[in-house]
């Protein structure tokens, strides 16, 4: 049957900004969805404020609304656009929750909008724990014994019946947010209270704890005629107990027998058919490690992180097919896009193994608990493909970009007592994989590692193979007869040249030479969904040493360009770089490049979708691997400047190895990144910069700091703590940091620069051809310098810069770009204080803010820069400037502090946000309010109240006008003792709340936060923490943490607080505008898109 003919216009909900548990995978699924709709001639409307995504490109969706995915905004868009149908399954939990709320409010009925795909009833049955339980009982599928509870007392009773330990699960949350394991009454009470506060329906489930069972997932598709297939199954390396998003995962399952595989498969299908899901869903199972007993854990009736992984692992385009099913197609009516001739109603057969490893950034956060459990904490993931588990695992470890060259030989191992190692095996942290290696080396038997960790010995033995190979390599003599064979075997087990080189004690180049002399080179294999049973039309490729034949032929007569992807996402590098990569590929095609080749390994992304590029190498972004591919493909060149830091860091090495780079030369990149060279350049151009110098001893550093005066910004090149940068306010501060957290030595110098207090931060994104410069936009940060640019709220156009300053910035930008002979994208950061402008740094690559600038200005800077990299110049392209905009675009950060138990939300020079949103408005206030609501910042409603607690005398004075404004807005004011004194002095009626450490005194801050009697927390800590006592700091930390955990908006800088209060005033009078990006763009005098 063809698609529903009444369907002309479809609204798609995106997932909003990236947060832990909801990341770029929804850009991938949303983009595929839009593509699938568009080729049917269906008009599409997308709501997603995540400006960095590819799906918010006006080329993908008919209309893009950069607005919060909340019932209120979605309803307004529905009223305006009048779509026939809506898709809720492609924007993660955010879209699903929003859809359920809209259905409850009768919005779909009111506007006659059909929910396409899985019906609301089925969504509710999968989301509500009790309904889910009943649904599973209906089809005879066992689930963990459990009872729902609406209060702590309820929960305690349930736990008594089930028996401790129990796990508390919360309905309607992201990535298991708020869940936890309780081993006793006290722990249970604590978890339940917190969980109830976070659940949309104030209900939790107390459940039998099945830690250490195998965790298995199936991706299931069903059409409305009940055809049902499982596209992929996946096995978690980490057994039950660790959130699947935080688990190492393999596909297909490795330790399951045929019976186990198919019993679970059949049960998955039974469940999905009974629920009546239409489209795609993910079902998680626990399988007993010593029997065929199983429990269904949960069903996600939508595209998920796992389904994105499954798509990439199998080559089956789940989101694309799910969309087709939602608009009325049946599975057997659809084609397998990889073969082009076989049906989509099949289950892929893999002839390789896939390993996913999560990437954490826990150590960036102060006070965070590094243990893994039912709450997801990772911020990214990598996927590696190989034909041995060892190969895939070692590739994946390198892909993590955490400084490891594989599972072994990392030179970063500190001695540790056996007890600590065992503790980590039992209570996993982000480092457990490496502790397993350590345990094996310490001689702890596999059996015991299994007992402690619950990780199946099959996996452990494979890890031991790697450890054993390391030993063999260490004994190997490079000239010996067996050398070639051992190296061949090591390569098969995923050893990199660098690892082998370290083992043998020679250089990486020498290993490379040796193995090539022996014909030890990897082969290119194709992912074809059918294990070679049918030929593949697509070029979805990986490299392996388990094979002796390339699957594809390399035509050297073709014009080819390789684009290096962004690799793993982590804090500071996310979907915005994928936007740049994908746009580069598209631009290459526009300029008639025969083969635009992508190398990337991030399964969440659009760039790793095999139909974006002409060839996709799902591979490591290491020197070795890029050269492997370069040598086979012989392209015109490689683009390193659009994928962020990972490819940028390879530039110099690739260039030295004879690889041709397109765009800015590696010498220029070096001239910008080497502080001394860049400094000399600035001096010669007469452009000021904050005073700085580089040191190899603490004493010298202290002397210099004394000279330029505190505070100073400290950037060590080697850190123990995870913080790369820190502001030191005094000699003691500096010394403490350099002694405790960082290492200073001739190999690890430290850079000290003057920290200018009270300065504005401004950045410029642009493109240059070496002679002319296209300034994309001047972006003003709302917060002062000292807050990382990735965490700052920013505005295009600038809100407070004088024309003098803007002219100066433009002048400096042009001078620097030309002096560095930049041929491609760049970003320069400036400080502005009292009209003086100085340069902080310059990056010769696409920046984080490039999609924000491009979309705000209607000029696709990547398209311009790609043309330049291919040899065009701005004159030929006829673009010298971006248009002035009659609106304001505001970008705000999205934080994930709620997921990271213990993490302190106070902002500083280290970036902590996981994502961003940008909204456009008539003016700054209009845009800011919409943007804030996009990042879970709930605007206070009736009879609001604010808690103000600020540090330092000066700030207590500064805050008074803000407090007064709040009062005028109808806020009831609460404050801590000293802040309240200041407010009282200014005749502002304020209620004092007692300190955290005075728990017995009422009214106490803790109670007010826990009971959510506060709608807004303004906590501006003293800039220099030394001036406050330890107890004050601890108190403030607790306040911030509670605000985070109880979802109360918290602002930690004066500037942002001020901006928000002004915006609230405006909002009260005017409300917000609802306009699409397309409408904004078409209001511009010209566009380049």
């Amino acid at each position: 049957m063809p698609k529903f003919e009444w369907l002309r216009k479809v609204l798609v909900l995106g997932s909003g900004p990236i947060k832990i548990g909801e990341a770029a995978e929804f850009d991938y699924s949303g983009s595929q969805c839009l593509k699938a709709l568009r080729e049917e001639g269906i008009e599409t409307v997308l709501i997603n404020p995540n400006v960095a995504t590819i799906q918010t490109d006006p080329r993908l969706a008919g209309k893009v609304y950069l607005l919060p995915v909340t019932p209120e905004y979605v309803e307004r868009v529905i009223a305006k656009e009048k779509p026939d149908g809506i898709l809720l399954g492609f924007g993660g939990q955010t879209a699903l929750n929003c859809g359920v709320a809209l259905a409850k409010n009768g919005v779909f009925e009111k506007y006659d909008v059909k929910v396409l795909g899985t019906p609301i009833r089925a969504i509710e049955e999968t989301e509500d724990r009790e309904l889910f339980r009943q649904a599973m009982i209906r089809v005879g599928i066992p689930i963990p014994r459990s009872q729902s509870a609406v209060s702590a007392e309820d929960a305690l009773k349930a736990a008594e019946e089930i028996g401790y330990p129990v796990i508390v699960r919360v309905a309607y949350t992201l990535g298991g947010k708020g869940s936890g394991v309780a081993r006793n009454k006290r722990e249970l009470r604590e978890i339940v209270n917190r969980a109830l506060a976070q659940s949309m329906i104030t209900q939790v489930l107390v459940e039998e704890y099945i830690g250490h069972w195998k965790e298995i997932e199936y991706e299931v598709m069903r059409d409305y005629k009940n055809n049902c297939i499982t596209v992929c199954n996946m096995e978690n390396f980490d057994p039950m107990g660790v959130h699947t998003g935080d688990s190492i995962v393999v596909a297909p399952s490795q330790t399951l027998t045929n019976r186990e595989y198919h019993i679970l498969r059949s049960a998955s299908i039974r469940a999905v058919q009974s629920l009546g899901i239409v489209g795609e869903c993910n079902i998680q199972w626990a399988l007993h490690p010593r029997s065929e007993e199983m429990r269904a854990i949960e069903i996600n009736a939508r595209m998920s992180r796992s389904s994105a992984l499954a798509s990439k692992a199998t080559g089956y385009p789940l989101a694309y097919i799910a969309t087709k099913l939602a608009i009325g197609y049946l599975l057997p009516e659809l084609m397998n896009k990889v073969t082009g001739v076989t049906t989509a109603c099949f289950e892929p057969a893999l002839d390789y193994i896939v390993v996913k490893i999560p990437r954490w950034d826990l150590r960036k956060f102060r006070n965070v608990d590094p243990h893994l459990g039912p709450q997801m904490k990772s911020v990214g993931e990598v996927m590696a493909i190989g034909r041995t588990f060892e190969e895939a695992l070692q590739k994946a470890v390198r892909m993590l970009d955490i400084g490891k060259i594989g599972l072994v030989e990392n030179n970063d191992d500190q001695p540790e007592p056996i007890k600590a190692v065992k503790d980590c095996l039992r209570n996993p942290t982000d480092e457990r994989l490496f502790k397993i290696v350590k345990a094996i080396k310490m001689g702890i038997p596999i059996k015991e590692i299994y007992r402690l960790s619950g990780i199946d010995p099959w996996f452990l033995h494979k890890i031991k193979n790697i450890v054993d190979m390391e030993k063999r390599l260490k004994r190997l003599k490079i000239g010996s007869k067996e050398a070639a064979e051992v190296i061949r075997e090591a390569k098969r087990l995923g050893f990199s040249d660098a690892q082998i080189a370290r083992c043998i004690g020679v250089s990486e180049e020498e290993v490379r030479r040796l193995r090539k002399a022996h014909g030890i080179i990897p082969v290119v294999k194709q992912i074809d969904t059918l294990a070679a049973e049918w030929p593949a039309k697509t070029n979805y490729l990986y490299l392996t040493y388990s094979g002796d034949e390339d699957d594809v032929e390399f035509n050297i007569n073709k014009n080819k360009v390789i684009v290096l992807g962004a690799g793993v996402f982590r804090i500071g590098s996310s979907v915005e770089f994928d936007w740049s990569c994908v746009n580069t590929i598209w631009a290459l095609k526009k300029h008639n490049i025969d083969e635009a080749i992508m190398i990337n390994y991030n399964p969440e992304t659009v760039s790793t979708d095999y139909d974006i590029s002409d060839k996709l190498y799902f591979e490591e972004l290491t020197l070795e691997r890029v050269i492997d591919i370069y040598e086979k493909e012989k392209p015109l060149g490689v683009i390193v400047s659009v994928g962020g830091q990972i490819p940028n860091n390879l530039a110099l090495k690739l260039s030295r190895a004879g690889v041709r780079l397109l765009g800015t030369s590696s010498e220029s990149i070096d001239a910008a990144e080497d502080r001394s060279k860049f400094s000399t350049l600035l001096d010669s151009l007469g452009i000021p910069q904050p005073k700085w110098s580089k040191f190899t001893t603490i004493e010298e550093a202290e002397k210099f700091a004394e000279e330029i005066g505190y505070p100073v910004l400290v950037r060590p090149s080697y850190v123990l703590s995870g913080y790369a940068m820190r502001i030191a306010y005094s000699q003691k501060d500096l010394r403490d940091y350099l002694e405790l957290a960082a290492r200073v030595s001739p190999e690890h110098p430290v850079v000290i620069s003057k920290f200018i207090e009270g300065a504005k931060e401004v950045e410029v994104d642009g493109v240059s051809d070496g002679e002319d410069v296209l300034i994309g936009a001047i972006i003003e940060h709302i917060e002062q310098a000292g807050v990382h640019s990735g965490d700052a709220v920013m505005s295009i156009p600038p809100q407070s810069l004088s024309s003098d300053v803007i002219e100066k910035i433009e002048d400096y930008t042009r001078k620097i770009a030309c002096a560095l002979k930049i041929r491609g994208p760049f970003n320069i950061q400036y400080l502005v204080k009292n009209g003086a402008v100085s340069v902080i740094e310059c990056n010769l690559r696409a920046s984080r803010s490039l999609p924000y600038v491009s979309k705000s200005k209607g000029v696709n800077l990547i398209e311009v820069s790609t043309a330049i990299m291919l040899g065009k110049n701005l004159k030929e392209l006829g673009i010298y400037t971006t248009p002035p905009i009659p609106y304001v675009a505001v970008k705000v950060p999205q934080f994930s502090f709620m997921r990271l138990s213990g993490a302190d939300p106070v902002l500083g020079v280290e970036m902590l946000s996981t994502g961003e949103a940008a909204c456009i408005g008539e003016n700054f206030a209009d845009a800011l309010l919409k943007a804030l609501q996009s990042v879970d910042f709930n605007l206070p409603r009736n009879n609001p109240s604010a808690l103000i607690t600020v540090g330092g005398k000066e700030m207590k004075k500064k805050i008074i006008p803000l407090a007064r404004s709040l009062k005028e807005l109808g806020f009831k004011l609460y404050a801590t003792e000293h802040t309240a004194d200041a407010l009282h002095d200014a005749n502002l009626e304020t209620t004092v709340l007692y300190k955290v450490r005075e728990a017995a005194k009422k009214p106490n801050i803790v109670d007010y936060l826990v009971q959510r009697k506060i709608d807004l927390v303004i906590n501006v800590p003293a800039a220099n923490p030394e001036n406050e006592g330890m107890d004050v700091m601890e108190d403030e930390y607790v306040i911030r943490r509670l605000a985070v955990e109880f979802n109360i908006p918290i602002v930690t800088t004066f500037e942002l607080a001020s901006a928000i209060i002004k915006a609230l005033k405006y909002y009260g009078k005017n409300g917000v505008t609802i306009q699409s990006l397309n409408e904004y763009m078409s209001s511009l005098p010209f566009r380049y898109w």
Partner: protein, 380 residues
Amino acid sequence: MGIKSRPEKAGKAVLVLEDESLFIGKGFGAVGKISGEVVFSTGMVGYPESLTDPSYHGQILTLTYPLIGNYGVPAYDSDEFGVPVRFESLGIKVAGLIIQELCLKPYHWASSRTLNEWLRSEGVPGIYGIDTRRLTKKLREKGVMLGILQVCREGEEPKLDSLAKEVKNVQDPNRRDLVGEVTIKEPIYYDCKGSKRVVLIDCGSKASIIRNLLKRHVDVLRVPYNFSTKEILEYKPNGVLVSNGPGDPKKCVNTIETVRSLIEEGISIMGICLGSQILALAMGGDTYKLKYGHRSQNQPVLDLETGCCYITTQNHGYAVSFESLKGTNLKCWFINANDKTVEGIKLKNKLSFAVQWHPEAAPGPYDTESLFDKFLRGIG
């Protein structure tokens, strides 16, 4: 578990195909030299089931999934009726096994030995460490080929030149009476005190077919493939099931004749795999050899009556010709959604039917087990 299971006796191994292509790898299982038809299966699980499937008799099986032996090999336990629980027959039926990587340290609660130990104890040679994807692509492009698999003793070098000559003279196993080699010699009666009785014509039946009948409370009389119509009718069966089996269906002259006369006698027939081809031949249809067969657990079959699609396990090198059904009493019921070959046939106005795949699964999906219910409902 825990035993050092290094294949200490097996050394180098070599696979030579009739087009003289060579694959040199490492040997495991038994030392020795065998010949057969080299085929591939893309199933990712179920090597104990596949290796004991009598349909593979005479074939050297390539598994395209690269990591094999991960969960070891279970013990030969049988249920109360003497039907093996975790295998499809009591012994490895493939002539040889070809894989990418052999798991030396398997782990599973039901495992009693390694794959290597199992093959060695049953005298079956295996080769690993070759590019199985290259081999599979070759088979896909050129069609299945005859080949020789030799596992040398440790230290021994294979004689590649003589193997290349030898492979030219390998006899096609499909010219043998393969079914005769795997069928039972004497009838076996599985009495579960059921209300119905089915005669299972054993052309190399998988144990799961028997288990599927028994679990539906049907008594099974399993008879040799050359049992006569008269002998079968003496047992007064409610219906007759013709099993799967190896090789060319046209070799089963007697069985074809038996099925034809059973139908004339008004007996309802269910055919599985080879049984399906036999039913077609009995009704005047024709069969032919596929280029490289269907061997996998992900074959989609389309029900032409309902438009529904099912995922099935398949293991066959021959197929029923669609054209040949014209003018017979058979109609095409299922086709393969990929290559449109005949997957299921039905006797017009009768209850008899047959499918080219394995509704009994093992290995593979259980999605079409209900065909047994359909058959049993039909036979009253």
